[in-house]
């Protein structure tokens, strides 16, 4: 078990995840943008496009405009997720001392570890609660219920379990795992060193967390989670620069047409009447 999940599977996961995403993106790239289906009102410069796309991607502009509750839930979930993912990288990478590396703030390594721990706890909880809200929404809002497939609920439950296990390791002292152990594990994997004998892999919670993450990554390219890329691919189609051609009619001189009285019958037969 330890050998499979801890030693062999990670390499398979990384390979399938990468190839899967490349396959999916390649498939999208193979189809063309045939006609111009830009949405108006037009964005007229590249910076307007950049602002629109990033406000959709990072602030969820449309959700904000059309559904505040979903906006709050989705933004919290994604923001916490982003931080949790980032936290995994810097937390294990710098053992929680990343904030001490920022020059000029005078943060000590100890303080940095405190901050790191606090942020991790907050985002871990926020992420879990936000996921719970999204699941709640799927069961309570009539219209949302009608668009939900079993897999949509499964994803949320899956993430709740995955994140839940992460939170247990963080909050239950008996199951806590030191950053150093994970760092050593990951560097060993990267260097293709054997890891099966590591203490870390004796933690059932760690193994379960690791397994769930790996399954998630393997399925990712074949699931709706591809919306991370889909979002940019679609925006690239519907939000582009468009400038209307200049108006102006050939050989039209309104002033002289009016002076000539075009359209007005001779002899003022018809006085304008409404």
């Amino acid at each position: 078990m330890k050998l499979l999940i801890g030693q062999i599977l990670p390499y398979i996961t990384v390979t399938l995840f990468t190839l899967g995403i490349l396959y999916r993106l390649g498939r999208w790239a193979g189809a063309r943008i045939v006609h111009n289906i830009t949405l108006s009102p037009w964005l007229q410069t590249n910076s307007q496009v950049a602002i629109r796309v990033s406000s959709e991607a990072f602030l969820f502009r449309n959700l904000f405009r059309f559904d505040r509750a979903l906006w709050a839930g989705a933004l919290l979930m994604h923001f916490a997720l982003l931080n949790v993912l980032g936290g995994h990288i810097v937390g294990f990478g710098f053992l929680g001392e990343q904030f001490a590396l920022i020059p000029g703030l005078g943060i000590t390594p100890e303080l940095s570890r405190e901050i790191s721990g606090l942020l991790g706890s907050i985002f871990g909880i926020v992420l879990w609660i936000a996921l719970l809200y999204l699941l709640y929404r799927r069961f309570t809002k009539e219209a949302v219920k009608m668009v939900t497939e079993p897999s949509d609920n499964l994803w949320l439950i899956y993430l709740l379990v995955l994140v839940g296990i992460g939170n247990i390791m963080r909050f239950v002292p008996g199951y806590h795992i030191e950053y150093e152990l994970v760092r050593d594990y990951i560097s060993a994997l990267i260097l293709f060193h054997p890891v099966v004998d590591m203490d870390l892999l004796n933690s059932v919670f760690f193994l379960a967390h690791l397994l769930l993450v790996q399954i998630l990554l393997i399925v990712f390219p074949f699931s709706k989670l591809m919306h991370v890329f889909g979002m940019f691919a679609e925006r690239y189609i519907v939000n582009r620069v468009y400038n209307d051609p200049a108006p102006g009619l050939p050989n039209v001189d309104v002033a002289s047409a009016r002076k000539a009285g075009l359209g007005v019958p001779d002899g003022d037969a018809a006085e304008e009447e409404v």
Binding site: A31, V34, H35, T38, P41
Partner: protein, 460 residues
Amino acid sequence: MPEYKGMVQPTRASVAEMRKIHIEPVSDEIKPDKAIEFLDQIRKKFRSFVIAMESCTKCGLCAENCHTYLGTGDPNNIPTNRAELIRKIYKRYFTLEGRWFGKLVGAEDISLDVIEQWYSYFYQCSQCRRCAHVCPFGIDTCEVTFIGRQLLHWLGISPKLHATTGAAMEKVGNHTALPKPGIVDTLEFMAEEVLDEFGVEVEFPVDKPGSDIMYIPSSADFLLNPYTLMGAGMFFTYIGANWTIPSTVTEAGNFGFLFDQYWTQRGNVMRLLNVAQELGIKKIVWGECGHGWRAAKMYIPTLADRPVRWPLTHIHDEIANLILKNELKLDPSKNSKPVTLHDPCNYVRACGLNDNMRVIMNACVTDFREMCPHGADNFCCGGGAAILFDDPEMYRRRILLSKKKAEQVRATGVGKDGEGILCAPCSICKAQLYPMVEEHELGVEVKGLIDLVGKALVWK
């Protein structure tokens, strides 16, 4: 066939009618297989379609932003569910997850029933793109129904309305099968009307060689919306334009866009380019038609089979430009009834006409009241994509599809005294709204925007 297993459907074109537009209907036994074959061909071409198939998170935001779901409460009228009707097939045949996990991810085998679902629900979508406008990713269900309708068409299933209109386009170049003599007669009659009613002498030149401007009116303006065409005639006369109407393309619309973007839509584009060259014109100006203007402005560049030498503009853009330059004298008090504006979806979400319509409106009327929401956020009239079916089942659906619009119009209060104006500057909007304002008892008269311009022009 107005109903199939509880689903409403528009009356179908007969085999003979399909043959007229060059389609040989596929027999029922091989229909499912052919559907997969055609879907496989077309999915590889359109990225907008692929992304709609593969990136929706089922957040459900589009549901209450589509007037068809709001009006009918039918789950399959939720944009993502409408797309799901084809997505479930797409998943089953063209994705790994669909092949492996089947029902769990909502994949389903193709069958005649599924094809009938397509026919029912793709022809309840008005292709208004409000779903694309609100979707957090911009996923455009309109692209899905375009392709769905195209597949149905290739299988030999198109509404009678669309197929016969397509045939008329090929025969005479307009939707209403109006031949040249009829066009010339109607225009002469209109010139008399203008003189009687407005005291203005207007000429409507047809096929005049050496014209500078070629005006493309909607063919519906000859019969149903005469004031729109009269308004255009007055406008061109007022500014002293050297203009003409081509008898071979008296059609701003292009039904091909709505059910057959290959043969039927292209056919009319080529007619247009041919006549522009023959008459030696310098600029093409488009009349009031929502889908037609989108099809022209956004699709001609990619549909034309030769370089397009003529700039294309919309008459609203030109009128607004002259208003902004202070070259038109307009008297808003000639339009003193309360007016509200229905933004044609294609204008505001696909053609950028939003501001210019308001420039014109503000210059031409005294009591303009915006709907809520309006502009790019507006709701469709429920008739878009020419789902103007008259068979009783579909007509009842149309009333439901226009429910949201009716609520909006009522909320503006323009029809309170029974003499408001609902300005809807698109032929399909007009055709939908003429009966719908009666059905919903809105107390408004439906008019185009050029109608109001024509009336407000000050001649001396």
